[in-house]
Every structure is written in C-alpha cells, then in structure tokens.
C-alpha cells in the first residue's frame, strides 16, 4: 500500500532508533505525550516502543473521542434511541462504551435499534430509506470528524430531509491540551501533535504551546516511522535548545489547515460554553453544538434529554493517568475493578485508552516479550 508500507520499514526504524538513542543525554529521562489515540494505537499495533531507549517514555494523551464522552451522554443517546420510531446510528467505536445502564449493544438487547455506520452520510441515507422513522446520528470525534458531520447537515438541509438529526458530541483538542498544560503536576518534555486533526485546524493553533508553555510539538503522521521521526525531531529540538511547532506529516497536513472544512464547521456548529470530559472534568469551550439555524436537526432540541450527570467512582485516577502523572498500573483500581470488560474510567474504555492499551498489550515488560519472541 502506497503511503503506508514505506513508513513501516524495519531497517529504517533501526537506523532512526540508533539516532534517537544518540540524542538522549546520559542520565536524562524524556517524557513525550502523544495527544492522539490514533498514535497510541500505532505505537501498540506495531510494537514501536521496542525501538525506544529506556530513557524515552510515551504518555498517552486525551485524544480518544470515544473515551472522553461522559457516561451521562451515553445514557442520553440510549434515551433518544428508546423513543418510538427512532433509529440511532453511530460509529462502531461507540457500541461498547458503557453508560450507567450499559452499552449500545446492551440497549439493543432490550429493543432499541442502534446501528453502526461508516460515515455520517450513511446515516443520512438510512433516513432517506426510512421516511417513517426518525434517524439520529450520534456524532463523536475531534476536528477531524466534525467537518464530515457538518457536510452531512448541510446536505440534509439542502435536500429538505425532515426525519434526520444529529446528537452532537464533537470535541475540540486545543482546550484539552491546555487543561493538561495547566495542571501543576505536569511533567512532559514535548508533544506529538495529532496529525489528522491538524489536516483541518492546521499547525498554527499549537503555537502557544511552544511560545507560552515552552514545550516543543511535532505534528506527527500515523505510520510507525512517522512517530519515530517525530520523536527524533523533538529530541533534536531539545538538544538544540529550540522550542517550536514542526510538521513531520507535511505530506498530508498543510500548515494552514483545511479552509473548506473549517468553513463548513463554522456554518453549522458553535462552541459550547463548557463540556464534561471523562477524566479531565468540565473544560470551557471544548466542544461543539449545532447553531440555532440548524435547530431542527439538533437531537438535543428535537428530543427532551434527561441530561443526568453520571459520576465516575472516586477511586478512578484517569485524570492523573491522562496527565502522565501516574502510570496505568499505579491507579488503585487498575486491573481489578477496572478492566476492559468493566471500564470504570475513560482510559480503559477504548482499546486506544492508555489503561486498556497497557492492559491488553503492555502488561509484560519489553524485556520479557523481547526474549520470548527472540526479537
């Protein structure tokens, strides 16, 4: 596969790993956060940490849009799906995320019709095919996904489709990064910037991270060599005493972002005053809702919502894990009360969550796995 396989080459990885090791000052520990869950996925899927020296550790950030959805919003979605003649649609990622009463799958077992779609446009198609039903799309995702929802809304209005609405849960990445940067116990040396979000928002919005917080950021692609190269670039910046925003993923990310996508979002959505993130709490201006002009397509206005907040158990320490203060195994409930089958906190919800990834893939020391595989 072009633009994929070239960036999965083991020989180049070994060479880059040698460079990375060469850039590490003896005795210094480096901690970088990959903001995006897609990066976490790449890191585990390809076993990328095997190439990193012990001095470099990666902290898995809050960039998993499924994980950060509070349980109360899942409950709201199930409440909507339970109304007569409603077909709820969402991405496959949402199907196993538990609300207070269970997941979408559990809810389907009790009679709701919640379907997986690949694209929000597929949801609109279901609405066209089922004129006697009301079809709701539960929209989740960062700025990467929001433009697709926006285009779908514009299309729905253009076609005059009346039995379609969006339950908008789109979130924005910058306020979440800022919340992490503002935490007093933060110990990070730099960031891997979310490549696909950046195709939409560009690289400029990250400049304050370098300018005001003194942390370098490299916008990184999603193949394993992209990530190794970005770590290399971060280490180079640290060695040279630079602190900048760099774009490693320039084959996909234009510095200025995607103007058409930003316009579509601005036309259909506006920032919410605040939104709750699982693990991080309420963050102001961190999520989007539909504009008044699209009220007829806004599931939150079409349906009455219970809007009951569901608290995570107090022992859950996801916030600390997300900020890189605690390692997953250091959380009091990790692996006992909180497992992938019963995810008490956000980091265990999706396979990309820091704790789920550690539970599934990282539980054995790199050394033990290396010896076992003869790698």
């Amino acid at each position: 596969m072009k633009f994929v396989d070239e960036y999965r080459d083991a020989d180049k990885a070994r060479a880059l790993a040698a460079k990375i090791a060469g850039l590490c000052e003896p005795g210094r520990q480096y901690k970088f956060m990959e903001v995006c869950g897609g990066h976490t996925h790449t890191i585990y899927k390809h076993g990328l940490e095997d190439y990193l020296p012990e001095q470099v550790s990666l902290v898995h950030g809050p960039g998993c849009p499924v994980c950060v959805i509070p349980m109360g919003r899942v409950d709201d979605a199930i409440h909507i799906a339970s109304q007569p003649d409603v077909i709820m649609t969402s991405f496959g990622d949402m199907m196993r995320v538990p609300g207070s009463g269970g997941t979408f799958f559990d809810s389907n077992a009790e009679g709701t019709n919640i379907r997986m779609v690949y694209s929000p446009l597929d949801s609109l198609k279901i609405a066209r095919q089922n004129p006697d039903k009301h079809v709701v799309f539960m929209a989740i995702g960062f700025e990467t996904t929001a433009p697709s929802t926006a285009m779908t809304l514009l299309r729905a209005r253009e076609e005059g489709i009346e039995n379609f609405s969006v339950f908008c849960n789109h979130v924005t990445i910058i306020p979440a990064i800022k919340a992490i940067l503002d935490s007093p116990d933060l110990r990070l040396d730099g960031f891997l910037g979310p490549g696909h979000v950046s195709t939409v928002i560009g690289c400029r919005p990250y400049e304050f991270i370098a300018a005001d917080y003194g942390k370098p950021l490299v916008v990184a692609g999603f193949e394993p060599l992209d990530i190794l190269q970005s770590i290399y670039q971060l280490l180079l910046q640290l060695r040279d005493g630079r602190c900048e925003v760099e774009n490693q993923y320039s084959r996909v990310v234009p510095w200025q972002g995607n103007v058409v996508a930003l316009k579509a979002m601005a036309e259909t959505m506006e920032l919410r005053p605040y939104f709750e993130w699982r693990g991080l709490g309420f963050i102001s201006h961190s999520a989007m809702r539909l504009r008044d002009g699209f009220a007829e397509f806004d599931a939150e206005r079409v349906f009455s919502m219970p809007g009951v907040r569901v608290a995570d158990p107090k022992a859950c320490q996801c916030g600390e894990v997300l900020k890189g203060v605690l390692k997953p195994w250091e959380c009091k409930v990790f692996g006992t009360a909180c497992t992938p089958e019963t995810p008490i906190g956000t980091c265990m919800v999706s396979p990309e969550g820091a704790c789920a990834a550690y539970y599934n893939f990282g539980r054995f020391s790199r050394q033990r796995v290396k010896e076992a595989t003869g790698a």
């Binding site: 633009f3 020989d11 070994r14 320039s250 990310v253 234009p254």
Partner: protein
C-alpha cells in the same frame, strides 16, 4: 484519535462532482470530496476519513520525507560498515 487511510482516486463520478471513486489496496468506495479546495483528478491520492477525503496527499512532501529517512538509513549502514571495518583492522 482518527483513522485516516490513503486512497487513490480512480474516477470522479460524472453526475455527482462531489463523489470520487477511490481505491485502497484492491477495494473501492465512493468518497465525498466536497471538503477539498480543489477537485482531485484520477491518479491523485487523498486521505480518507469516515467517507470523506480530508486532504490531498502531497507527493513532493512525501518524497522529501522518504529521502530524509533513506538518508538516515544510509548513514546508519555506513556507520555500521565503518565499525565492522575498524574491528577487522
């Protein structure tokens, strides 16, 4: 957070200029290209996310990045060779 896969544009659907047929390793799907500033042409590569083309892939930039990686690979091979040489001598 967001799965994006490169695909090659094989055809612009004539009656729907917003749609392009895209090929990813032998499978095909119609993708909405309405988020791109310029309509892509057959042979262009785009990044696909939830049924939309999010960005046109810049072949020049890709080549430059690969050259950098090749360069590192080459210097590594040279170093290893030099090391081996010095051990023989």
């Amino acid at each position: 957070m967001c799965l994006g896969i490169p695909g090659e544009v094989v055809e612009i659907v004539p009656e729907q200029p917003d749609l392009a047929r895209v090929k990813v390793s032998g499978v095909r799907r119609a993708i909405n290209v309405g988020l791109l500033e310029e309509r892509p042409a057959p042979g262009d590569w785009v990044l696909i996310h939830v049924g939309f083309a999010l960005s046109k892939i810049d072949e020049e930039e890709a080549r430059a990045a690969l050259e950098f990686l090749e360069g590192i690979g080459q210097s590594y091979v040279d170093e290893v060779d030099a090391l081996r040489q010095s051990m023989i001598e």
